[in-house]
Symmetry: C2
Subunit: 432 residues, 2 copies
């Protein structure tokens, strides 16, 4: 790897570092091991590495915290990993403008805390918020719990500094809250999973978010009743900050009984939401006290750890039109039965985003689990939905992406990739 030395950027080929850098949290096993992990500290470092990678035709896998659930940040033989975790400074925070400028390695929750100190918030809050990075969130257009009301990552990104495959540095978007000068390259980079360029700085929107006023946890006698209740919120013109649905399998993993639990948080008057959620509920608890709210939220927060105690979780991620949520969850139960696998489903009910979690053996993912996953993707498309709501495509869903997009749209996307990355060195084999 002598060309890496000429860049002046710190790098390693230490086997332990390579062993970490080749994997993400998807369970995907890449072929072989990458050649090196590179640790840029500045945009100029990233430019130097990409210039060298272009000159040597070396594939580059950009990586934040490696929390991808799709294989998007796995790296194999012949590839180098561009680890952006040391570019982790908040460069600017301007409360009057409602803007922060952050490097890609900033942990998302750290940015939100810095914003909070100025009375503002960074709205996107994926469940991984304490461990995932802004760069990774941008790469997957991460959503989260409060995004149904306050937007996903794309809605919070105003502009980007991006190093292109050939090492050129461009700025996209702007530092204003509104603008339409030129095609929306910013939006194109968001969700592109490191295949179009490497984000070295992001101008992000901060907003004044009201504090939650109440948390409501309601148990329902059936999944349909819970899904209906969440849809009824919309009919009543109520926009909750969060509406999380847990199915019976998830409740069982938590040691709880019941067919379905809906946890709703609002940041305005809670009475209308309570009135809508009450009628069909077996039990409803509502609290305005933050400590008690945390107790009510505990089932949601502890769901994944509880599922992990049962086996290795394959966390899927589909979205369907909100009215089809109950259909989706019922069909997922049938899929579990058909393939004889355990599937626990968590849903962001406010936006129809479902996370069916297939519980499989710790040592090897059973073929039945993969077959169940395939059926879940097919189900998403059958219901007019998408194979990924907020985790991205990675390597796991590439075939499904083609099916969802159709041939003309897929071909267009490949042409766009070729404009940005004609040598195909940026995260090749991912996303598209």
């Amino acid at each position: 790897m002598s060309w890496l030395d000429t860049t002046g950027v710190e790098w390693t080929a230490d086997p332990a570092a390579l062993a970490v850098a080749r994997l993400d949290r998807s369970g995907v096993e890449p072929d072989g091991t990458p050649s090196a992990v590179v640790f840029p500290r500045t945009a100029a470092d990233v430019q130097a590495v990409l210039r060298g990678a272009s000159a040597t035709r070396t594939p580059v896998v950009p990586r934040g915290a490696g929390t991808a659930l799709t294989g998007a940040t796995t790296a194999g033989a012949g590839e180098i990993v561009l680890d952006l975790s040391r570019m982790n400074r908040i460069l600017d925070l301007r409360p009057d403008d409602g803007i922060a400028v952050a490097e890609p390695g900033v942990i998302t929750a750290d940015l939100d805390r810095a914003a909070a100190a100025a009375g503002l918030a960074y709205a996107p809050d994926p469940a991984s918020v304490e461990i995932s990075t802004i760069g990774g969130n941008i790469a997957t257009n991460a959503g989260g719990l409060r995004c149904a009301k306050y937007g996903v990552t794309r809605d919070a990104v105003l502009g980007l500094d991006v190093v292109l495959a050939d090492g050129r540095l461009i700025s996209t978007g702007r530092a204003t809250l509104k603008g339409v000068a030129g095609y929306d390259l910013t939006g194109l980079f968001v969700g592109s999973e490191g295949t179009l360029g490497v984000v070295v700085s992001a101008t992000l929107r901060l907003r004044p978010l009201p504090a939650p006023t109440a948390t409501i946890a309601a148990t329902y006698p059936s999944l349909a009743a819970a899904a209906d209740a969440s849809v009824a919120l919309t009919a009543a013109r109520i926009q909750p900050v969060m509406a999380e649905l847990l199915d019976a399998a998830t409740l069982a993993a938590l040691g709880l009984s019941g067919a379905a639990l809906l946890i709703v948080q609002v940041d305005d008057d809670p009475a209308p939401a309570e009135a809508v959620l009450k009628p069909g509920a077996v039990e409803l608890r509502s609290s305005t006290d933050p400590a008690e709210a945390a107790t009510l939220l505990a089932a949601r927060r502890q769901a994944l750890p509880a599922i992990e105690r049962l086996g290795r979780p394959l966390i899927e991620d589909i979205a369907v039109p909100r009215s089809r949520m109950a259909d989706a969850i019922r069909s997922i139960e049938e899929i579990a039965h058909r393939h004889d696998v355990r599937i626990c489903t968590l849903a962001h009910a406010g936006d129809g985003n479902l996370h069916p979690i297939i519980v499989t053996d710790r040592d090897a993912i059973a073929p039945a689990a993969h077959r169940a996953a395939e059926d879940i993707f097919a189900l998403a498309l059958d219901l007019g939905g998408t194979v990924t709501g907020e985790h991205g495509v990675g390597t796991l869903k590439r075939a499904w992406l083609a099916r969802e997009l159709g041939p003309d749209s897929h071909a267009l996307q490949q042409q766009l990739k070729a404009v940005f990355d004609p040598l195909n060195i940026l995260n090749p084999g991912k996303a598209l």
Copy 2:
């Protein structure tokens, strides 16, 4: 135009129709007159026209209501106008899913009214909402008054059906509220001013929006005091639905005295906003009564008609970081003085989007007006802003777009255009 006859789509070469279709509301005079105006009623019609246009290399200018303020919908010799105003059906409205599907010719306010009948809202509300179309709003990524809180057009567009230059029909995005399957082609079409494809259907997000609770109108002794007050709302974690700033020249046009008027509407507790706005104000009126609110809002609504009585308005559209708004308005006053032109400035203060309106002669736009406009664009970039917040580039700002984007980004955008429209027949000479 014999090839148009072979498409089976209604068209005309009537001089009166051509005279209307060659112009928009920008004051831009295209060279000559287009050959025909075509009136598709279906996506298949649009496909037939674009196939024929590709075969004959005929430039096509897509048009909604022709309300563009930038020259984006002007058409000259050798071009045909694709008038989409007859594709004006709301195809679907699914309140439970929070989604509407609309053809491009639907008047924006009609969609919002249809949503309101289901207890929801279509959030983007450009001032032209009663006359402009969804397609035109998508073409320019239209904003409006409440977008500081509830998002611009891009935030409301989930998916599109688009006819490409060669006549192929593709679907982008999805019918779910969240998704990240593939590159964001939807966002790329939004704001592309008809240069990448022709939108024939849009899947749009509807939201439950709370009704406004109060309207507050405050007069300030100086522009700086009014701008400071609007910035202070953010510092106090208040997110108004609307914050409109009118400068002294606008107030004079309305026959009102005073240095600056700030009109704020909130949809939550008005007391905190009143407390922030009161201290520096000469006079503050606040009302929770809708009829009285309309009176308070009248100054904003009547501003443009009042300015139009003084002469022909050149409506400019820049955005700056919110904290630079007072600087921007002061500099605009200096520009007016320097070029001896009258400029009235309206601002969407919540997002730093300024509309300096240069009042010029009715018959011909004075060279001084153009020079003042150039100085305003330069000012926007000097303050870290953009040359267009929500109206787009059209023909008027093409040189400034190149300057704002820089050569690398501008070249990339031209490559993208070539991917979608290799023959350069879609609204050539606009936007890029």
